[in-house]
């Protein structure tokens, strides 16, 4: 086990400091204005502590554990999704195979097999899961079943696994530098803070909603304020945590701000379609795991491909993946 670089550890300490502040604020609110809101805040902060603790420990312990952490997130998210959507009883076996895509996809990450990592779910699962369905032969609801299962795999496994692939990247020109933990911390921290910033700006300024039919409480003020805050914070943290200089960090912050917003709306539309408020109850005060990683399903692949084209990368086994701009 080698510790992440000092700036990464410093930001981790700052996150813990933020949580201490949140706990204190929550305790003060509970004392001054006790009620269901205060209780919900207390639960929310307590769950934040647990999530942050697991995430930071996974990140510090090492690459294998961090990859396993994201595999677990994908599993919990896919399970929640599969439990929410209408499924056909005949597809139990198909769903079982869909679950098996998770260990395969994260094994591909650990093997650093970039081409197959990109192709496995969009190409191979897309083509082969229907073969299992054809073997069963039930055609009533075929398209809906095939479509919803693939959508779930793309959202909860393929997209989220990009966060894990960041962990194995090394700069071709500076292979000794461990950039993975910093990139992942940057991505996850900004994505979560973006959610919070959009909520806080929206609550304090109000105003007209951006997408009234999908999510009436997401206002323009929240959207613009949130994206601006995330872009600013991204610009400041990028040079500290990642190999990105400040202009690229600004762009990365903007991508995470915008992507996070769309990812959030994407899952909101799914929940509205299914007629539910929370995707589950795994995380007290937050709802389900999909409610927490909704933004990340967009920001992880978008941020990954953004940094991927900016540098010449190698991985731990030494293949150069991207030749760089000519």
């Amino acid at each position: 086990m080698t510790l992440p670089p000092t700036p990464v550890l410093a930001v981790m300490a700052a996150i813990l400091g933020l949580l201490v502040a949140a706990s204190l604020a929550s305790a003060v609110i509970s004392r001054r204005r006790p009620g269901p809101d205060a209780e919900n805040l207390r639960l929310r902060v307590r769950t934040w502590w647990q999530m942050v603790a697991v995430f930071l420990v996974a990140l510090v312990v090492g690459r294998g554990v961090s990859i396993g952490f994201f595999a677990l997130i994908s599993f919990l998210a896919l399970k929640e999704y599969v439990s929410l959507i209408p499924t056909r009883r005949v597809d139990r076996r198909v769903l079982f195979w869909a679950y098996l895509a998770i260990p395969v996809q994260y094994l591909l990450v650990a093997m650093e097999w970039y081409g197959m990592f990109l192709a496995f779910i969009p190409v191979f699962c897309f083509l082969l899961l229907p073969v299992r369905m054809l073997a069963i032969g039930e055609t009533g609801g075929y398209l809906r079943a095939a479509g919803t299962i693939q959508w779930g795999l793309m959202t909860t496994v393929f997209s989220l696994s990009h966060a894990a692939f960041l962990l194995i990247l090394r700069l071709a020109d500076d292979p000794g530098r461990a950039v993975g933990p910093g990139l992942v911390l940057y991505l996850v921290l900004l994505t979560q803070l973006n959610d919070i910033a959009q909520y806080l700006w929206g609550r304090s300024l109000g105003g007209p909603p951006v997408a009234p039919k999908v999510s009436p409480n997401k206002t323009w003020a929240g959207f613009v304020g949130g994206v601006a805050s995330t872009t600013l914070l991204g610009t400041l943290l990028g040079p500290l945590l990642t190999p990105l200089a400040w202009p690229a960090s600004l762009a990365a912050g903007l991508i995470i701000g915008l992507g996070g917003f769309v990812g959030d709306l994407n899952i909101s539309a799914l929940k509205r379609d299914l007629g539910i408020k929370d995707s589950g109850s795994l995380l007290p005060g937050h709802g389900g795991i999909l409610d927490r990683v909704d933004s990340l399903t967009y920001t992880a692949p978008l941020f990954f491909h953004f940094v991927y084209v900016l540098f010449r990368w190698s991985t731990y086994t030494g293949q150069v993946q991207w030749p760089g701009w000519p």
Binding site: P86, R93, F96
Partner: protein, 222 residues
């Protein structure tokens, strides 16, 4: 009473270990069981816990709702014709789960099928009972059999706690051997008092369980 003495000679540490190392981790990770109102569960015996039945997993979920310290006091009621049908299953059902086997077809002339259940209650056990009598169609609740009412009529002071389970019939339905992960929900209701009339009591129980089911997110097959 060769079938089931009230104190079945099973080692309690075996089931505690089995639940700690296998059942609880599998339920937590593979399924993820969300429990509503666990405060209504009985904390001591004698007590009756009745639940809807869709899956072989039901009994494991119900037993794991209780703390390890109460584990030796739990006795699930199960059909003798199925669970004592062959050696290994019978050993597991009797020794590890400590089931109370009962005869499902109570023809006239047979001995009282509820006698072993009463004996367990007299010994201060928490008895788990599936009044539907069978797992039936996945994720639908069938009519309840009247054994519960008979028990309460004979022991009017007994508490009867209804519990409903959802999602387990998708994870492992009847006739399937492949466990597929699905989130599962459990709701525990307030204990139902005996009101002196069998039919009225069964109607109230059915109604209470239907209301609890309505509280949970729906999870039927398409």
């Amino acid at each position: 009473m060769a079938l089931s003495p009230p104190e079945a000679p099973y080692p309690a540490w075996l089931r505690r270990l089995f639940f700690l190392l296998l059942v609880r981790p599998v339920l937590a990770l593979i399924l993820g069981v969300n429990v509503r109102h666990p405060q209504h569960l009985p904390r001591q015996g004698p007590a009756l816990v009745v639940a809807n039945h869709n899956s072989h997993l039901d009994v494991f979920v119900l037993m794991s709702l209780f703390p390890g310290s109460l584990m030796p006091r739990l006795r699930p009621v199960a059909a003798a014709d199925y669970f004592l049908s062959h050696g290994l299953l019978s050993w597991f059902a009797r020794r590890v789960l400590a089931i109370i086997p009962i005869e499902r077809d109570s023809r006239p002339g047979r001995r009282d099928p509820l006698a072993p259940v009463e004996a367990a209650l007299d010994a201060g056990r928490i008895v788990i009972l599936f009044p539907e009598g069978t797992r039936g169609e996945p994720e639908t609740m069938g009519p309840l059999k009247h054994g519960v009412a008979h028990l309460l009529q004979r022991r009017p002071g007994l508490s009867c706690t209804p519990v409903v389970l959802r999602g387990l019939g998708k994870a492992l339905p009847r006739g399937e051997a492949l466990l597929v992960p699905f989130c599962c929900d459990v709701a525990v209701g307030e204990p139902l008092p005996w009101d002196g009339d069998r039919r009225r009591f069964m109607a109230a129980l059915q109604e209470r369980m239907a209301a609890l089911l309505a509280e949970l997110p729906s999870s039927g097959w398409e």
